[in-house]
Amino acid sequence: MQGLFLPNDDPNKLSMDEWVDALGYRGFDAILYYGYDFIEYCVEHDIPMILTTRQDTRKWAKSWAFSVKLIDTLSQRPFAYSKTIQQILPSMHYVTKVIPTGGHPDQYLDMDTLEAGYHKHIAKVKRMVPSHLLLEYNVQQGWKPLCKFLGISQIPADDFPHVNDRVVMQAIIATFTIVAWIWPLLLGMAAYLVLKFIQLFIRRFFMTNSKATINEKKKN
């Protein structure tokens, strides 16, 4: 996944064509990614796009600033020990801090910068993508516009999914934060358990043997 985001001089660096082809080869037929190089690729290849929007941009900015804490947590220990997490951090930085701030990643928690970045993104996508390839979509609209855009005649009977709300995000971030704080304790606990089991094993095995030997000697 990170092949697209590697430095230009890296031999594993992928072009946009190679990246999209590789994802298709792995069985994916839709990509959620808002990099402008990908949008350009979609326009060139006549791939339709859905631009998800939110009515209240201030609410969006608050929600976004809250969620970005997750990325900050991922750069701390013990996540820093995971090679795979470290590999995706550059792409996360680009996606979560560079694009939404309109190229001002240092101001990624500033509400006004985020709101301006949001409007800039919407305007840029609308400018880049021909109207017949673009659906501007708010999830509150439900299945109907989505089915129409995708050419699906039968609207699903299930309710439209509404997932990952603030409560879920809070729980995810709290979990990550707690783990970042208590991971040495967890490691210690695991080591303690291993040690206890080894001791138990040694005691059961060797002590039983020595007891049997003593009893045997006594009999003799």
Partner: protein
């Protein structure tokens, strides 16, 4: 620990000088305390595992808890579970399962927190296989 050794030693060497009533009496509570810590540790680890495995899902599509149909408590559990699953996968060597090759036919180009995860799960209803950097980040591409 020393208490249990003492008691074992006592059984094995009844005449040993190491066995004194005083030391056994002092060591026993420590031993019980250690056992309780051990049990608490095992229970805590089992609980973490349970939360990670038993995420409240809205339907059989492995969708996280839905805002409209689940309580805040269920959604909190779902969030904890998602976090733990992410952690587990980040330190495991298991790769994303392979699927039949296809071509990319759709792009979702809105920011996160605009309903992108909801649309991700909506597309799966149509048998579409969407890919996100956050959900499928273990892909070696």
């Amino acid at each position: 620990m020393s208490g249990s050794c003492m008691s074992t030693q006592e059984q094995c060497y009844p005449d040993s000088q190491a066995t004194s009533t005083k030391s056994t009496a002092v060591a026993m509570p420590k031993n019980i305390k250690q056992q309780r810590i051990l049990v608490a540790a095992v229970v805590a680890l089992c609980l973490l595992q349970l939360i990670a495995a038993a995420a409240p899902t809205s339907n059989n599509n492995n969708r996280p808890a839905d805002t409209q149909t689940t309580s805040p408590w269920e959604r909190t559990l779902s969030g904890i579970s998602e976090g733990l699953q992410f952690l587990r996968s980040s330190f495991s060597l298991q790769l994303v399962p392979s699927r039949p090759p296809t071509r990319v036919k759709l792009g979702i180009v809105g920011f996160g927190r605009t309903g992108s995860t909801s649309i991700y799960h909506a597309l799966r209803v149509f048998a579409t296989r969407p890919c996100t950097i956050t959900n499928d980040w273990k892909l070696r591409i």
